[in-house]
């Protein structure tokens, strides 16, 4: 299935990413933020791609833990890596915006703190996969579920606490001129995320096959 899905996803994401700069350049200047506002077309979609990856990680972990399907485990590893990368993008683009909007690179407010915590959990997950040794896959699945449990808190953190970060309600109420490039890049990031996910989990799958073949060879 992966073999057929990947080229399509890759082609679509390439198309979107090639056209996105043109659309973003044509979008009007925002009056207070100026050029920096264009980071938003990158910042918001990368977080959304991260949320998607974390949800896939969590759901795959649940499946692996209760059903023991190896494919779910492979999906979980791939999703965790992608979540860490997209999260890193969000954490880098965030301060670039922050220095212009708040005058400081970083503030420990609720939204930013939760974002760092989620990124830390993902780093711990990857460390566990790397150095946990035998049996760490189920452990990692447990951790994956805890990671997913954090996302709702992260998402609503701007609503519960009065934070310096803009509220979630900003996005649906954007004027059309800003909304079109935003949703365009959003689509691009999501498709890219899925393309990478399919490629990465296919790599895991082939690695597992290779291991199986090695074992079979040694037994003979």
């Amino acid at each position: 299935m992966n073999k057929r899905v990947f080229p399509v996803l890759a082609a679509v994401s390439l198309l979107v990413f090639v056209s996105a700069p043109i659309i973003i350049v044509r979008a009007p200047y925002e009056s207070t933020m100026g050029l920096v506002q264009k980071i938003f077309y990158f910042h918001f979609p990368s977080w959304m791609a991260m949320f998607l990856s974390v949800f896939i990680l969590g759901i795959a972990s649940v499946f692996y833990l209760f059903r023991r399907t190896p494919a779910a485990d492979r999906l979980a590893v791939s999703a965790a890596e992608l979540a860490a990368i997209f999260g890193l993008m969000g954490l880098i683009t965030g301060p670039l915006w922050g220095i212009k909007a708040w005058g400081v690179w970083w503030q420990w407010d609720a939204r930013l703190t939760m974002a760092v915590i989620l990124e830390l959990i993902l780093a711990a997950y990857l460390l566990l996969r790397q150095y946990g040794g035998a049996g760490s896959d189920r452990l990692a699945a447990g951790l994956g579920i805890f990671a997913m449990a954090n996302v709702p808190f992260l998402y609503v953190s701007t609503e519960i606490w009065r934070t310096v970060h803009p509220r979630t309600s900003v996005v649906p109420t954007l004027p059309v001129d800003f909304g079109v490039p935003l949703w365009w890049s959003f689509g691009g990031f999501i498709v890219l995320c899925l393309a990478l996910l399919s490629a990465r989990s296919r790599l895991e799958e082939q690695r597992a096959t290779l291991d199986r073949l090695y074992l079979a060879l040694e037994e003979d």
Partner: protein, 227 residues
């Protein structure tokens, strides 16, 4: 349901009995917590004056560090002679075993905290007992949040070789929210003008996190532990 709590009670009683004979975990954890607070007091108390606002952080860091030490050893006794397998083979609800372990650890940490709180109040001149009940609520809820995740992870890591390194690596990212809430709540209580509404908000949030953590831990304990 009755049987569920009976199993938890029995597991806890077993742990407490072993502990009361050797007192190994209690003494080592207590000693570590005390030396932790002492090290902080060497660096943050100058000329009898504590650094402003340091006490809540130090209190919770001491609890988290010594808690990690205790959690790392929580399943150590079960590792010997394959006792864990024996425990897992018992025809009882697995989550009840988890709960019993958790109760035992909570009692141990409560004993440690009783000493640490007094020490911090004394060394850092922090008015920790001004709103004693609210501090108690913060401590109880914070410890439950921390230990509920910790007990699960400690159980998960029992069969891993590098468990001593991995436990804090996995535990801290997940429990940072709980520690932040504990520190912020305590800070609201000890500041010159206590902000009780703020402390109550943090207590409520802690309850919320505790419920989430406990539900997740009880739910995942069985599949994680099954070989």
């Amino acid at each position: 349901m009755n049987g569920f709590f009976r199993v938890a009670w029995l597991v806890m009683r077993k742990d407490l009995r072993v502990e009361s004979r050797s007192r190994e975990m209690l003494f080592t954890t207590l000693f570590f917590a005390v030396s932790c607070v002492l090290v902080f007091s060497f660096s943050f108390v100058r000329g009898g004056q504590a650094v402003d606002g340091a006490a809540p952080g130090i209190l919770w860091i001491a609890i988290a560090f010594s808690g990690t030490l205790a959690l790392g050893r929580a399943f150590e006794r079960e590792r010997q002679h394959d006792a864990l397998r024996g425990l897992m083979l018992a025809p009882v609800d697995r989550p009840a075993i988890y709960l019993g372990k958790l109760f035992g650890l909570l009692l141990l940490l409560a004993a440690v905290e009783a000493v640490v709180v007094v020490m911090v109040a004394f060394l850092f001149q922090a008015p920790l007992f001004r709103h004693g009940w609210m501090l108690l609520a913060l401590l109880v809820l914070g410890t439950i949040g921390f230990a509920s995740v910790g007990t699960l992870f400690s159980a998960m890591l029992v069969r891993t070789t590098s468990r001593a390194v991995l436990l804090p690596i996995l535990l801290y990212p997940v429990t940072i929210p709980v520690l932040i809430m504990g520190v912020s709540g305590t800070a609201a209580l000890v500041q010159p003008e206590p902000d009780l509404a703020m402390a109550r908000l943090w207590i409520t949030l802690l309850m919320f996190f505790d419920v989430v953590f406990l539900v997740l831990a009880l739910w995942t304990f069985e599949p994680v532990m099954t070989e």
